[in-house]
């Protein structure tokens, strides 16, 4: 019996157990601090729906051995281009959502191909370079947002008539197009059904893909490149495919994020998007070279539970707004923890 409990704990991971305990403790404190548990849970459900896809975009690249995808900001830019062009072309309402997804796709494929080509050249140093590729892309696009010839007054600065705004409200476009779909309340907890279904659909797609022949090849490339090569798999092609897939999910993910959040954030906003997503999947039990869909789901819920409930509870208990600081410490602490673990080195 003791052994079994030990095994279960080992499998779940001590660190995650501590975090779950911490979250439960926070929820226990919630009524004392005057927060409704149902509101907190609604928050978590909502934020899970916003962020799920961004976290999911890590999976293909981890599978193919490209490591944690710190290059997420680059992939987000593809989605942002999709959105801005869709609005510029005059799509409104829910059509704009579909248009944005459609327009983002070719950009995602283009960016993914270039990014994948680069990552194939630098096998082994992916994570650090991905970080800086992401940053370079964001700063380049900052210039782009100023210079590109967008005209629609909704997205362009009012007084100069050129250069995109830093925040674009999508109130009249696709705000809550998914989150609002079939939304219902369960014991006071609001469930954004549409957005969760959308996540489930794509997550299922990825799960199914990973079980096809190409998907298995992808896992083989990540876990044992030498074996994969011996089995006649074209490693570079598989890695490229995984990067394109990641990019596409991230591009869709940011559009999904916006429909819940209500704003399109341009310029420097994507800089800070990679860390939370990376931290979430690691919190879910993934490692630098291993990740599954359940890691994504558990991780996103845990991560969002920490960053939404802790500040709320602490804030009302001791009147201290430390949400930002907690988010920074938790997300980077988790990544640091994962990076300093010994990983199973692929056999050479």
């Amino acid at each position: 019996m003791k052994e079994r409990i030990k095994n279960i704990i080992a499998e779940f991971g001590i660190s995650r157990l501590i975090i779950v305990g911490f979250i439960l403790f926070m929820f226990a404190l919630a009524p004392v601090s005057g927060n409704k548990i149902s509101t907190l849970l609604s928050n978590v459900a909502n934020r899970f729906a916003w962020n799920g896809l961004l976290v999911l975009s890590m999976v293909p690249m981890i599978h193919s051995g490209c490591g944690l995808n710190f290059g997420l900001p680059l992939e987000i830019e593809a989605g942002l281009l999709g959105v801005t062009i869709a609005i510029e072309m005059g799509f409104t309402g829910n059509e704009a959502f579909l248009a944005a997804l459609t327009i983002a796709t070719p950009f995602a494929i283009l960016f993914g191909t270039l990014y994948g080509f680069l990552l194939n050249k630098i096998k082994g140093g992916e994570m650090m370079i991905a970080t800086y590729v992401g940053f370079s892309a964001v700063s380049l696009m900052c210039i782009g947002w100023v210079m590109l010839p967008f005209k629609n007054p909704v997205i362009v600065w009012g007084y100069t008539g050129k250069g995109l705004r830093t925040m674009i409200s999508i109130e009249n476009y696709y705000y809550e197009v998914l989150s609002g779909f079939l939304r219902f309340k369960l014991f006071g907890v609001t469930i954004p059904t549409g957005a969760i279904l959308f996540f489930a659909l794509i997550a299922f797609g990825i799960w199914a893909f990973l079980h096809t022949k190409t998907g298995t090849a992808m896992t083989a490339v990540g876990s044992n490149p030498t074996f994969a090569k011996a089995a006649g798999i074209n490693i570079d092609r598989i890695r490229m495919l995984s990067v394109i897939l990641s990019t596409w999910i991230a591009a869709i993910g940011i559009i999904n994020y916006q429909q819940g959040f209500g704003y399109v954030q341009l310029y420097t906003a994507p800089y800070s998007m990679a860390m939370p997503a990376v931290a979430a999947i690691l919190l879910g039990g993934a490692s630098v070279n291993k990740a599954s869909i359940s890691n994504v789901i558990i991780g996103t819920i845990l991560y969002q539970a920490i960053v939404t409930t802790t500040p709320n509870v602490i804030n009302s208990l001791i009147n201290l707004d430390i949400s930002d600081v907690i988010r920074i410490i938790v997300s980077n602490g988790v990544i640091l923890f994962a990076l300093t673990r010994k990983i199973e080195e692929p056999k050479k």
Binding site: I122, K123, T131, Y132, F135, M275, V325, I326
Partner: protein
Amino acid sequence: MKNIIEFLKKNIVPIMFIIICSICVPISGFSVTYMINEVMTRLTRNAFLILSLLIPIMAGMGLNFGMTLGAMAGEIAIVLVSDWQIWGIPAIVLACIFSIPISILLGLFCGKMLNMAKSREMVTSYIISFFMNGIYMLLMLYAMGPIIPIKHTSIKLPRGYGIRNTVSMLNNRQCIDNALAFSVGGVKIPVLTLLIIAAMCLFIIWFRKTKLGQDMRAVGQDMEVARSAGIDVEKTRIIAMVISTVMAGFGMVLYVQNLSSFSTYSSHSNVGMFAIAALLVGGASVDKASIGNVFLGVILFHTLFIVAPTVGTKITGDSMVGEYFRVFISYAVITIALIMYEIKKRQQKSNAGKLLAEAQNKEEQ
């Protein structure tokens, strides 16, 4: 001919920068005296910080993104010294002394972490800098006041605890730069600062020749070989990190006395990024950097930094473009340098493989 191509290939980043600078400087329309003056100021402001990156590179730990930790230690020391209302050179010296224990602690932490993440040092030190930034914010925003006494309202936030967004050191403004300074044709030469930087360079040159310095180079070359030669690899690497962090702390104090104020919650991250970018612009790579790289890098990188906003405005008519452009350049330089390093590493690996195969073939014949 082959040598020239080889030379161009090796120094592609500095050459690119020289070309960009030689195009941008005339467009900006700044006078020569102004340019030299500005470059001199920035050289004395940043050189010390960049020098702190050299030792971890020597020890094979790559670019030390964790140098921001040292910068944080320097900032904490400055905040305390400013609160005690100590002015002039004694304040600077005291801040330096005070930063040492904090830097050592942070350096030990960073070194221990990096020992647990061998071959992923850079990305790990990068995350450490973010993680520590969170702790630093916790300290500066919430512990300064209730736990660590802060008296002066010019430093404290109006709410009664925490540090203001910018901490001013106006009373110590350039007190080291101005000591022994003289000007030549309108260009101010801060002799004492230059002497300090020169002393630092001498220290690094001397340090390379010591037993410890040799050990570090051995560890940087090949950890396993070094270990079998009886070198305590882990300890050597930690010492490299500690030295680098302490130096970065001093560098930050020098940086702030030149600038006379700093933004409490962002200065250190910017300082880290720009120091690394400048070093790479000077032609350094992830596994090799010299003092020459530091100075060439500072001059080239900051020349572009001075002219970029003006040039951006002149070309595009928008002042923000230049601003974004220089951020882009810093990131792009780091990206290119990292990519070139990885490609080189792979080539060396495949070359070694080829040589081995050839040798085997010969033996069989």
